[in-house]
Amino acid sequence: MRLLQNRYRLQLLNALSLLLLLGLWQFLAFYLNSNTLPTPAVVAKVFWQETVSGQLPYHLGITLFRLVVSFTIAMLLGCALGIVLGCNKALDAFFDNWLVIFLNIPALVAIILCYVWFGLVESAAILAVVINKLPNVVVTVREGTRTLDQDLLEMARCYHFGRRKTFIHVVWPQLHPFLMAATRSGLALIWKIILVVELLGRSQGMGYQLHLFFQLFDVAGILAYTLAFVAVIQLIELVILKPLDKKAQRWRR
């Protein structure tokens, strides 16, 4: 009973917060009364028009495709590298410099070089995103790997768990919070990067479209597209990340 009520309360709070944000926005827009901050209603209208015209779904779809591909590659590679570096001091010493350098190469530089070398093709765009995102994942996962519980690893060794079992049952659950952090901030980072990537070398996608709006200073358009993206991420959050979180945390008292 109480638990149920509790859950309802949390959901209520969740809905409330959205409402409050909308209210704030409406108030601000009303108060400023400038085309630099259109009201929610105006944005919703633009959103609707763009959706009906098929423009928004088209560009959103393309950007999401790029996001999914590059996110997957970056996470898989990043986890592998992060774990290896976290476990092996020699490799870590060797690649630490590279990591810092790649971490701090401006998005712009990586993108330009990728495009110029590999041509304005889809794979170059995705590679550019991966290069930007990968070092972040590596750094986070490496940090996580360094905190692994030695007692449990010893136990696994003693009982001959082997690599696969050790990874799945001992290492992975401990890395979970770090992976969650990397995922959440990673989606956001990729989204920031992908916009620049599309801006500089693709003829479709949200970044391309947002730039057009920016040239015309069409804030309503920008916000409508932003909202669409945020909604998708919110959906991912609700359908994938939250349940994952819940499942991974259910052992906690």
Binding site: D151, L152, E154, M155, R157, C158, Y159, H160, F161, K165, H169, V170, P173, A248, R250, W251, R252, R253
Partner: protein
């Protein structure tokens, strides 16, 4: 069928920050014949856990040599750690079955869970167990792998007297059914006498063997508290060199 020849010249934990280097074991020579049941008794912090870790192959950083003479290639080791070391994100049952290589008979696990009164708790995550329950899980895990060498680091603390008695009997039963070498750390002399073929008394750090006494009581009579007590009194009275340990 596992004999163990231990010859540790020295085991030193290296200095780190303000902490000085610490020599935990010095010149420890020890031979365990096949299927022997040995109890280790020694002061807190002398190096018992360190020794068990070395035997289990968890700590290769020592000078000396450990030889495990087994029939087949790699001896299976069951280790009841001093802390339960359960995976908190796996249920009780998963924690046990994970330690079993590939195929295993669920009945053995069921039977062990039953004896340890954990059948009810088998699908619970370890955070919901009391410490004594966690310890029992860790004991089941060590028994379930059918070890050639069984290392037990104070396994029965936190168990109430009746349960401890029961588990002690179970241990002996398993040991007699399928002989294996057991190293058992305890601070309870009565327990040690009731279980061991041989008692090893260990010195404070750096650890070495101070005394070695075979227990002359027949296995059948070990349950008799009076006999155990009598032998204990004898020990207390007649072995001045291990006096400080008792």
């Amino acid at each position: 069928m596992t004999a163990i020849a231990i010859d540790i010249h020295s085991k030193t934990y290296s200095a780190q920050g303000t902490a000085p280097a610490h020599r935990a074991i010095a010149n420890l020579k020890l031979t365990l014949t096949s299927n022997e049941f040995i109890c280790l008794v020694g002061p807190s912090g002398c190096g018992k856990t360190t020794l068990l870790n070395i035997i289990a192959g968890l700590d290769p950083d020592f000078k000396g040599d450990i030889r495990l003479e087994t029939g087949h290639k790699k001896p299976v080791i069951g280790y009841v750690f001093q802390n339960p070391r359960l995976l908190p994100w796996r249920t009780v049952r998963e924690n046990i079955t994970l330690a079993l290589a590939g195929e295993h008979a669920p009945e053995t696990v069921d039977a062990l869970l039953d004896i340890m009164q954990l059948t009810q708790a088998q699908h619970v995550y370890p955070e919901r167990l009391s410490l004594g329950m966690s310890r029992r899980v860790s004991i089941i895990r060590a028994f379930a792998v059918n070890p050639d060498i069984l290392l037990m680091d104070e396994p029965f603390v936190s168990l109430d007297a009746p349960t401890a008695r029961q588990v002690r009997n179970l241990l002996l039963e398993l040991w007699q059914r399928r002989p294996h070498t057991v190293l058992f750390v305890t601070h309870d002399l009565r327990e040690a006498i009731a279980l061991a073929d041989r008692l090893l008394f260990l010195s404070p750090s750096p650890m070495t063997v101070m005394g070695e006494i075979s227990v002359p009581i027949a296995r059948a009579e070990r349950n008799d508290e009076a006999q155990v007590e009598a032998f204990r009194q004898k020990l207390l009275a007649h072995y001045p060199e291990i006096k400080t340990l008792l």
